[in-house]
Each structure stands twice: as C-alpha cells, then as structure tokens.
C-alpha cells in the first residue's frame, strides 16, 4: 500500500499538500481546507505578472500545410516540378519536385497579414493574430513530433504543457478540473499526459462529439439512480465518513477525501452545466457553425470562462500525403468558421485579453510533392499562430526560405514557443521545475528563449 499524505511524501510542503485536493494548487488548497472561504485564483508559482490566465490550444493533428494556409511562396510556381538543391531535405517519405499551392492569398485587416482563401473567416481576425512563420519542430514522425510539441521531448515520458500549467497554476474553479482535453472520442489524447507530475494534473477527457454532458464525461452522471435517491445516498455517505473521521483524530487525509467527494458530487451539476451547449443562444451557436469541432470551440470558451486553465482541442485530419488540394479544403471548411467565431466570441466577452489561443500542428508540410499530389511531413519550418493573452496581434514573425521548406529568419523552436507561452502565464520556464528521478526537470529541457518581439 502506498504512502498517504499525512505521512507527507519526501520534499516540500507543496508536495505534502498536493494529494489533498481537486487539482487545486497547494496554496489554494490550504485555503480550501483550512479557511473554507471562497476566493479567486491564487497562483503560488507565478514569477512574472501574468498576461494570460487561460490557454486554448487548437491542435491540428497530422500537420497542416503552411504553404496552403499561412505562408505564401510564389516562387514555387516558377520552379514547379523542379528539385533545386535547397529542397533536398530528408523527410519521412519519398518526395518529388516542387508543387505550387492552388490557393490564393489575400491581405486582411489593417495589418494586411496574408492568409489563403481556405481561411476566409480566420482572415477576418488577423489583427488579433500573430502568425509565426518560422517554427521548427523536433522530428519528422507524428508521435515523436507530437510529443515534442507538447512535452519538449520525443519520448512518451515527460509531462505535457497542460499538466505543467496545472502544476504551476492550479485551477481557478474548484468545481472543475484545471486541465481539459477535448476530442471526438472519450479517451484522452496521448499528448495530454501528466508524466511524472502527480496524477491530479492529468487531463479530464471530454468527448465533444457526444450530445449530452453525461455522455461527454465518464461517470459524470448516475445512470441508475434517481437524483433524489442519489442525494440521500450522498448525505448518508458523508455522515458515515464524518463519523469515521471523528473517531480518528480528524485526519487531514480523510478530510481531503470528504471534501473531494463533495466537489465531485457538485461537479455532476457544474460540469453538466458547463458542458451543456444548449444553454447558449441559437444565434451564437449558429455563428460557430455545425459539427463536433464547432461544439468543441464553443465548449472551450465555456470552460475558460468558468476558470479552466488549459483546454486542448484536437482535430486529427491534416495528414495530407495525397490529394491534398481536395482534402485540405474539406479540413479547413470544418475549422475555419468555428475558430473565427471563438476568437470573436472571446473578444466580445472581454476574455481574449486573458486567454491565449494557440493554433498549429506537430509540423507543417513540404513544398515538394509526395505521390504527385500530396505533401510530406516538414518539421524544418512551418507556421503556427497565437492570439490574445498578451500577444501582439496583426503581425507575422519569422520566415522560411524561398520555397517554405526551412525556417531561416527569427527561428522559433518549440522550446521557444513553450517558454513564451509560460511567460505569458507569468511562469519562468527555467524555474517551473519538478524533481523526478534525482533531478529537476522542466518543460523546455535545457533550451528555450521567450520570443519577446511578439508580446504586446
């Protein structure tokens, strides 16, 4: 049997307390346990004044083509079909000559940022967006590149961004988890693991393709018992637990489970409310459009609005090895309107200032063709974008080479991206550490610089 927190684990007070609560940071938890008063967020690990409180990471799994969306490269057309020396980079699969994008780029907004016709709605929001055109990934294969994007390493061991955030900041809402993973299936994504961080930092998976909250979250609702019966049962259970505890010297561990049981019981209703999209107006729902991804965007807003720290929404449809022109059109059609609606909705509610929205895949795609009509993985240089939460809108940052294969100017590594995200949240990536296996680990390993030029 394992150690209990009243025999605190080796280390700090923080560790001693962490097991007690709802994924709540230790100070907030101490507050919960010992003063029992409601209060706002308490963020014990903040190193800087935070610019953002929440993150919504829109993860385009599979690797969307920056060349067809955000990084226009007219020169490809001039050299179409050719293979100049500079594009002979090794990627996952066999590639051929340069393949131009058939999509038109236009300038949008006051800033005039160029965006392709595949993103007409997101184009409307460019003045709030900073496009990073020089992101460099860590590996040409999906899983390691995805791990790189979320944990800064290629392996499956290290904690991911959301878990680090939960570790650093805790949650703002005691009735909801701090870290939520939204997908089309009920299992959590492989890119939301808590690794060696305590289990309270694991993501709560929500299957947004389901219609009702109780289908979205495992065990959220009781399938058998009437609500009244459940209430009686809960009261009885807590009486039983109180009595048990009273005979045992008010043990803090027993207390923690009683409190946590209360939160869990309430979560059935609060999470149900948070996940109930029918509570939104019809016109707002229409603005997001239809489909599970649109619902995911809307739900992401409802969750951050209620204090969830980090929401990761994943859509896995970007791996266009063949027939890219048709497939990417379909893929963008599903995400363009909802994402733009999310940005506008957040802005309209005054939430965009405190919510950092990040968009991107684990890599981009090659300017050279695969199978004649597809594009291979490209981790040498690709585009992502960020908006809100202290980001300077209406700009592009960095550049790839003439053909969009390799980042050449103002390179942003994934570690730089992580350092910047943490910075905006008030966290110093060099000081946000966790001791494991005899040493202190961080999200950025031994790398990472804050990209200051993109901060407002």
């Amino acid at each position: 049997m394992a150690v209990l927190p009243d025999t605190p684990t080796y280390g700090t007070r923080r560790e001693a307390l962490r097991s007690l609560g709802a994924g709540i940071s230790s100070v907030a938890l101490a507050d919960l346990l010992f003063t029992n008063q409601a209060s706002g967020s308490i963020a014990p690990m903040q190193h800087f004044v935070p610019r953002a409180k929440h993150v919504i990471f829109l993860f385009m799994r599979g690797g969307p083509s920056h060349l067809d969306l955000l990084d226009p490269k007219p020169l490809i057309k001039t050299y179409a079909g050719q293979r100049p020396e500079s594009v002979k980079l090794r990627t996952e699969r066999v590639t051929r000559g340069l393949m131009p994008s058939p999509f038109k780029f236009r300038r949008y907004g006051q800033s005039g940022t160029e965006v392709s016709d595949l993103f007409p709605n997101i184009g409307q929001c460019v003045d709030d967006i900073c496009v990073l055109r020089s992101v460099v990934g860590g590996n040409p294969n999906h899983a390691p590149a995805g791990n790189w994007m979320f944990s800064g390493r290629i392996d499956q061991i290290h904690p991911t961004l959301g878990a680090w955030m939960s570790h650093g900041l805790g949650t703002e809402n005691r009735n909801l988890p701090g870290f939520v993973s939204l997908r089309k299936v009920a299992t959590p994504s492989r890119y939301v693991r808590h690794g060696y961080l305590p289990g309270e930092h694991q993501a709560t998976p929500i299957d947004v393709s389901q219609d009702t909250p109780d289908q979205m979250i495992a065990h959220l609702q009781n399938s058998k018992l009437a609500p009244a019966d459940q209430h009686h049962q809960f009261d009885f259970l807590q009486q039983l637990n109180r009595k048990h505890q009273a005979g045992r010297g008010n043990d803090a561990v027993l207390e923690a489970r009683i409190r946590s049981m209360e939160t869990g019981f309430r979560m059935q209703f609060t999470a149900g409310e948070a996940c109930d999209l029918n509570l939104e107006t019809q016109s707002l729902r229409q603005s997001y459009g239809e489909g599970w991804f649109a619902d995911g965007c809307l739900l992401a807003r409802r969750l951050v609005e209620r204090g969830v720290r980090y929401v990761q929404l994943e859509i896995n449809q970007w791996d266009h090895h063949s027939d890219i022109n048709r497939k990417i059109r379909e893929a963008t059609r599903e995400v363009d309107q909802p994402i733009a609606a999310l940005l506008k909705d957040l802005k309209q509610r005054g939430l965009l200032d405190e919510t950092l929205v990040v968009w991107g895949g684990e890599f981009g795609r090659t300017p050279v063709s695969e199978n004649g009509n597809g594009r291979d993985h490209n981790h040498y240089g690709f585009s992502m974008w960020m908006a809100g939460g202290g980001i300077r809108g209406g700009m592009t940052y960095g550049a790839t080479d003439d053909f969009g294969f390799k980042a050449v100017k103002n390179i942003v590594t994934v570690h730089d991206l992580h350092a910047t995200i943490l910075y905006l949240l008030g966290l110093d990536h060099e000081r946000l550490t966790y001791r494991y296996s005899g040493r202190d680990f961080r999200l950025t390993d031994i790398h990472g610089n804050v990209v200051e030029d993109i901060i407002a």
């Binding site: 150690v3 294969n141 979250i217 058998k224 018992l225 009885f236 489970r257 040493r439």
Partner: protein
C-alpha cells in the same frame, strides 16, 4: 547567498546546438543590502546567461579559450581578453561586452549562434550600469561543472558502507519491544520524548495485515478466530498462515512489478514496437517465485540472467521478462542510422536506469552525458553498463527444451515479417508515385513482387507452438545504416558489444571504448571486465557480492515502505547524495544485515516487520497533538500510518465482499473494465498507453519507466467513479439483492459483509432515514451497500 545549481544535461534527443550547461532551480537569494541586491542581480540574471551562452568558448573548461577571454571568474571578467577589458563598470555604452551582445561596434557579434533576446541584453546593460557588481570569491564556482566526485572520497558515503553490526540500544520501556528492530525505534522515540502508540486492536491488526500480505480483507470467521485466539503465538500463526497463502504472491508480485515497470505493450504501437505477445509468463513467474520464497538474490539473478544459468529448467527463462518486456520505441527504417542510434541508446538508457535505480538505488543514468554531478559515478561506469544492454536482445523464447534453431527462429521470423511488410509498403509507395508522375515504375513493381514473395515465404515458416515467454538472450545490437534508404537493427548472437563513450550523450560522437564491467565505486577491487557473453550474470553477481550492502539496504527499505506506507529512506530509488538519508540508519543496517544472514528470505523479513511492536501500533498516536506538531511526517514512527488501499486491492476487496472473486491463478491478462472479469486485478491487462479506468484514476504507475514509489492523489474525478461507475452500481445492486428479506437483518448483513462489523445506534438511525427517504426498500438497500463500498472506512486501513 546560497545557490543551488543543478547542472544536469540529460537530453533525450541530442541536438547539435546543445549549450554546454543547463541550469535549474536557481534559488531565490536571500534579500539584503544594496550590494547584495547587485550581486543577487548578477547571480540570478547575468551569470546564468554567461554560463549558457558564453562559457562554451570563454571559461576555464572551454576546449580552447577564445580571444583570451574568460567570463567564469571575478578576476577574469575584470581583466578582460585579448582586446582589453570587456566591461567598464557604470558605463555600458563603453563596454565591449555590450557591443558584442548587441551585435554592434567593431567587435565580433556574440554569441555567434544568434543574438541574445533583448531582455538579456538589457540585463547586461543594466548590470554594467549598476557598476558591474561581482562576488569576491574568485574561484569559478556556481554553475561551473563541478569536478567529478572522486571515487575514493565517494566510497565513504553512507549507503556504500559495509553493513555494520549494530548493538541493540538501551531503552526505558523494556516490555514494549517485540523484535530487535523495536529497540531502535523506541530508543529514538524516547530520545525525542515520545511514547509509542498503543497497540492496534486485534480486529484492526488482522484487517491491516490481511490487506498488507494477501491484498484481501479477512473473513468474519478469520477475524473471530484471531480475536479469540488466546494462545501465545496467535500473531505468529496468523502471519504464517497469510504468508503460506498463494494470494501472498498475487499481492506482492504487484509491488515488484512496479519496480520492474511491467506492462504488456509499448508506449506506442507502430510496426517496430508492436506489443509483446507473451508478457504474462513473467508476471506469473514473479508470483510463483515469491510464493516459493525464492531468496531475493536468486530472484534478481534469474531476472537478469536466467538464460545464462545452465542449471535452471527452461521454464525459468520467463524470469528475464524483467528486461524482455522493456519499453521498445519505434525505429522507422526510413530514418537515418544517426537518428535510429539515438532511439536505440534511449532504450538502453531506460533499461540501465531500471536496473540501477531499481536494484541499487543509484541514478547511474545521470552519467549518460557527463560524470554524475553528485555521486561518484563516471561516464565510464554508465557506458560499461550500457554495453551490457547493447549486448542483450529482446526475444520470444520457448519455455520447454527445444533446439536453438527453433528457438531463435521465433523472433527472427517475426521481425523479418515486420521488415518485409514495411518494405512492400514502401515499394508500393514508390510505385504509386511513379505512376502519378508518369515515370517508368517497373523497377518498383519488381521490388513489390520480390518483397511480397519473401514475405509470403516467411509467413509460411513453421514455428514453435509450445509455451513461450518474452525474454532476453545474448546478442550484440547494432544499427545497420549500410543502406542509406533503409535503416535496420542488427543482432549478432554470441558477439557482445562494448560501447564507446557517447560524448555529451550523443551516440554519433564516439569517445574511447569502455569494457563492460560493474560500477567502479561499488567494486571492491578495480572492476574486472565482464567476459561471459553480455555480462548480465556477472552483473547480477556483482550486485550481490561487491554491492551487497547497498542492494540489501535498497530492498529492505522498499519492503519496509510497502508495509508501513513510508520507507526509512524516502527516495527508495535514490540512495545517492541527492537522495534522502534514512530516518533510522542503524535499524536499516541491522535489518539488512540479518536479512542477508537469513539467506535474503523475504518471508523472514515480512515476519520481522509485521510481528514488531512498531508495526502493531495503532494508527492514532499516544499524544496526537504533539506528534502532529513535532513530527507531522511520522518519521519517528510514533504510530502506524493510516493507508489507503491501492486500486487493485480495492477492486479485489469489492469482488471479495460480493462473493464474486474468481480464485483462478495465472494466465493471459484480461480487460479490467469488463464486469464479467471476476479475476484478481493482478491478472488484468496493464498498458503503457491506456489503462483501465480504475487503474488510471487511482495513481497506478504507467510502466514507461521505473518509478520509485506511487504518489497518491485525491481528486473529484476519482470520486465520480465512486459515485457513478457501473462497477459500483452493479456490485451494490448485487449485494442488496442477495440480502436477507427482513430489513433490519439486511442492514446488519450489509455492514458485516462490507465493513466487517455491526452498525451502532447512531448509524442505525441514519440508515433508517436513508431507507425511509429512498424511493423503494430495494433501492434503499442498494444505496446503503453503495455507500458502504464507497466509504472511507472501506477504502482506508487503520
């Protein structure tokens, strides 16, 4: 001021641009005078930048010092380099250092790899404007990579000492001790003015010890028999009965499987890392060996090297699943040999880490890129052991006598099939590409055909069909990069491989070759090179001869922790300088020494601990207030720790009280989320990807890497499981349906079945309220059963 520099460099993916040093955990300097504030600014904001961006070329340790400039000591910074002083205190605009980092002026732009972020340049300006405060201490300290810990000096560290004979200390409460270890505990309590807690009641003790040893609750009959047993050796007989139960191995195997990071698949499941086909024979082997009380040294020796021990029966090869079910990572053949070499090195690293932290409590893996910063462990030690892993192949192996050819064909064929499937697939891709681009594609067509024929032939091969386990055998492991388009692994049976030192951890940058051997600081004499095959058997022998004291301390500490909830050394896999020190060093030595003298018998060790007065204490202290104030962690052991059931024990307990537990032992694992799976949780499938919900929710380790101990969490999402999961709903319904007809008898029955006691008056009143308000009697009983199953009383052990 105090600095904590952790200068570890463990980069899983080695990259060319690695800075020389990495910094963690710069602690906040204590605040003080203005001078101190300036120095503080230097230490917190400037020195780390110099270390990270400049030391590679401008420090005593640089390969060659550039421009005669060192930035790693106060005097060197003040003196400057070939171009004279680089700082002019108070005048940033006159300082060459500022020109260099701003990429302006006549000096070279520094650092050459790219401009520093603006914030850092500003910091440097600000620091010079402050007068460039520097510490008096002129020695290059702080982030300087420390000199490696000298081996001779390192040998004096407490955990490397031989096990000394410890005299039993004198105590005042002479009647209290039951076993020798109690004298050590009591002496310490008395020295600190504590009294031990009173003994637990017999019914508390039997519940505690039943969960502890066999992972199941006692039956009412067992409780009554023990409570009324007035014989002198009632406790001994209870412990002996439990240790003789086959359930003992089922419970304790799980503790060991945590150490061995047992799981039945890999972190991902691409072609080259599909799940092992026969993982469970290893799990069954662990259960059997523990039930047989195989001595711990032999238990470990077989896990490392049963295949090399000719005296053993073929079935014992299952023991080597310890390494044979190690995590395997995908090795995409299209990637270069350089990239695949990193992946192979990562696999060896994980195995080495499990062996060294698991058996020796040493973080040897910290010496992958540089000598260990805190412990006397060299890179040579790391690569000497990594060579053992590079000489060991993961294989499927028959558990009965067969020919070598038949045995080796198993793995060879399976891997060849995977390889040719990939080759066919790749050739098809090439063919399609050619078609689309209207190029001649015959060459690919022929390739597809050729590979397909090979594949078909491979699939036709008749393979051994008897019992098989995932195991290991001796074979040197190489990355074969001869074909630039197709990188594969190559195994050479009978050809062990000594590895070169990978400079700064980079497997593509080789230093001198290191002979496979044991860790120097733990060796009595200069370590002898291994020469029997991979060296696994010699490694196992060295663990129990040269490193005997450390190995014994590590396992005794683990066993103590699994019994008492907290080990004596709170970092059970780190007995190095960065680890914890034992709360009771003499007790640990005394117990470890006698454990070795008793032939490393784990059952002997269980008896010593479980029959001690220390373990028999109640979980409420004699003076709880004093304890909570003076020793809230209960390091002094002034009471027994209250424990929460592990998820597997909790699930088994629910099945047991519902009368549904299937006692069948061993065999292939089954899905734990199926209601119809009534077997003990140890026979449930465990994954490195997605575990069953009960395991996943309740802090079950994920098996990707060795974890030193489980860390418990308490979250609302877990409570939703207790409130609403089908598992609880189904079992509470079952319990209530099987109840007596008369309501009052039914209530008594539910309390007795689940909580092993009768309800008291207050509780009966609450139950009555519950039954009255429930929508039906049957529902009311179900609510009652559900509440009892979800209660703290059921979940915790006093």
């Amino acid at each position: 001021m105090r600095f904590e520099w952790l200068t570890h460099l463990l980069s899983i993916q080695w990259r060319v641009s690695l800075p020389l040093f990495c910094l963690f955990g710069l602690s906040q300097a204590e605040s003080g005078t203005t001078d101190e504030a300036g120095l503080d600014f230097y230490e917190r904001r400037i020195r780390p930048v110099l270390v990270k961006h400049c030391y590679e070329c401008h420090s005593a340790n640089a390969k060659s010092i550039q421009a005669g400039l060192r930035l790693d000591s106060t005097s060197a910074i003040r003196v400057g380099g070939d171009s004279g002083p680089v700082i002019d205190p108070g005048r940033p605009n006159q300082s060459l250092l500022v020109d260099a980092v701003s990429y302006s002026g006549d000096v070279s732009d520094m650092p050459p790899s790219g401009k520093l972020p603006k914030r850092l340049v500003e910091d440097i300006r600000k620091w010079i404007a402050m007068g460039a405060p520097l510490p008096d201490d002129d020695s290059p300290h702080g982030p300087q990579p420390r000199k490696s810990v000298p081996i001779e000096q390192g040998r004096t560290f407490w955990s490397f000492q031989p096990l000394k004979v410890q005299k039993l200390p004198d105590v005042t409460m002479r009647n209290w001790p039951e076993r020798p270890l109690d004298r050590f505990v009591l002496r310490k309590l008395e020295d600190h003015g504590f009294q031990p807690a009173s003994s637990a009641k017999r019914r508390t003790y039997i519940r505690r010890v039943s969960f502890d040893l066999i992972g199941l609750p006692p039956t009412l009959e067992e409780i009554n028999r023990f409570v009324s047993d007035r014989s002198e050796n009632a406790f001994e007989r209870l412990i002996d009965r439990l240790l003789a139960s086959p359930h003992y191995g089922e419970r304790w195997s799980r503790h060991w499987l945590d150490v061995a990071r047992y799981a039945e698949d890999n972190p991902t499941s691409e072609d080259t890392c599909r799940p092992p086909l026969y993982p469970w024979p290893y799990r069954d082997w662990v259960i059997r060996s523990l039930n047989d009380d195989t001595s711990y040294d032999e238990f470990v020796r077989r896990q490392l090297a049963a295949d090399l021990m000719s005296e053993l029966a073929p079935a014992q090869v299952a023991a080597t699943g310890f390494l044979g079910i190690s995590p395997v990572y995908h090795k995409e053949p299209r990637l270069s040999a350089q990239v695949i070499s990193v992946i192979a090195a990562d696999e060896w690293d994980e195995r080495l880490d499990t062996v060294t932290r698991g058996l020796l409590g040493l973080t040897v893996a910290c010496a992958r890129c540089h000598d260990h910063k805190f412990d006397p462990i060299r890179m040579e030690d790391y690569y000497a052991l990594a060579g053992v892993m590079a000489s060991t192949q993961l294989v499927e192996w028959p558990l009965v006598e067969t020919s070598l050819a038949e045995a080796t064909a198993l793995t060879q064929t399976r891997e060849a099939i995977v390889d040719y499937e990939q080759r066919v697939n790749y050739a098809e891709q090439m063919q399609t590409a050619a078609q689309i681009e209207q190029r001649p594609g015959e060459v690919y067509e022929m390739l597809v055909q050729k590979h397909q024929e090979t594949l078909d032939a491979l699939k036709q091969r008749a393979l051994f069909t008897g019992p098989i386990a995932n195991a290991v055998r001796d074979a040197g492991v190489w990355v074969d990069g001869r074909d630039p388009d197709w990188t594969v692994m190559e195994y050479r049976a009978g050809e062990p491989r000594d590895l070169p030192i990978f400079i700064r951890g980079n497997p593509n940058n080789h230093g001198k070759v290191v002979r496979r051997r044991f860790i120097e600081v733990l060796s009595n004499d200069p370590p002898r090179p291994f020469h029997q095959g991979s060296g696994r058997l010699e490694l196992a022998d060295a663990v129990f001869t040269d490193a005997q004291a450390l190995a014994a301390r590590v396992i005794v500490n683990r066993i103590w922790g699994w019994h008492c909830g907290q080990p004596l050394v709170r970092t059970p896999s780190n007995f190095g300088a960065q680890g914890d020190r034992p709360s009771h060093p003499k007790l640990l030595d005394n117990l470890a020494r006698r454990f070795v003298a008793h032939d490393w018998s784990l059952k002997w060790l269980h008896r010593e601990i479980l029959l001690s007065a220390t373990y028999r204490q109640g979980s409420r202290g004699h003076n709880e207030t004093k304890g909570q104030t003076a020793d809230p962690e209960n390091r002094l052991l002034w009471k027994m720790n209250r424990l929460r059931l592990d998820p597997e024990v909790w699930r088994d307990a629910v099945l047991a009280v519902c009368g549904r537990l299937d006692p069948a032992m061993f065999g292939k694992s089954e899905n734990l989320d199926e209601y119809d799976n009534r077997r003990r949780t140890i026979y449930g499938r465990v994954s490195r990807q997605t575990n069953s919900s009960v395991l996943q929710l309740f802090d079950f380790p994920d098996g990707k890497r060795h974890v030193d101990r489980r860390i418990l969490t308490t979250t609302p999402v877990q409570q939703l499981y207790f409130l609403n999961s089908p598992f609880l709903l189904q079992h509470s319904a079952l319990l209530s349906e099987n109840c007596d007809h008369a309501t009052s008898a039914a209530v008594q029955q539910l309390f007795l079945t689940i909580l092993l006691r009768r309800p008291d008056g207050d509780e009966l009143e609450n139950v009555e309220n519950l039954l009255d308000s429930a929508s039906s009697r049957q529902t009311g009983l179900q609510l009652l059963a559900h509440s009892l199953l979800a209660s703290n009383e059921f979940l915790f052990v006093d």
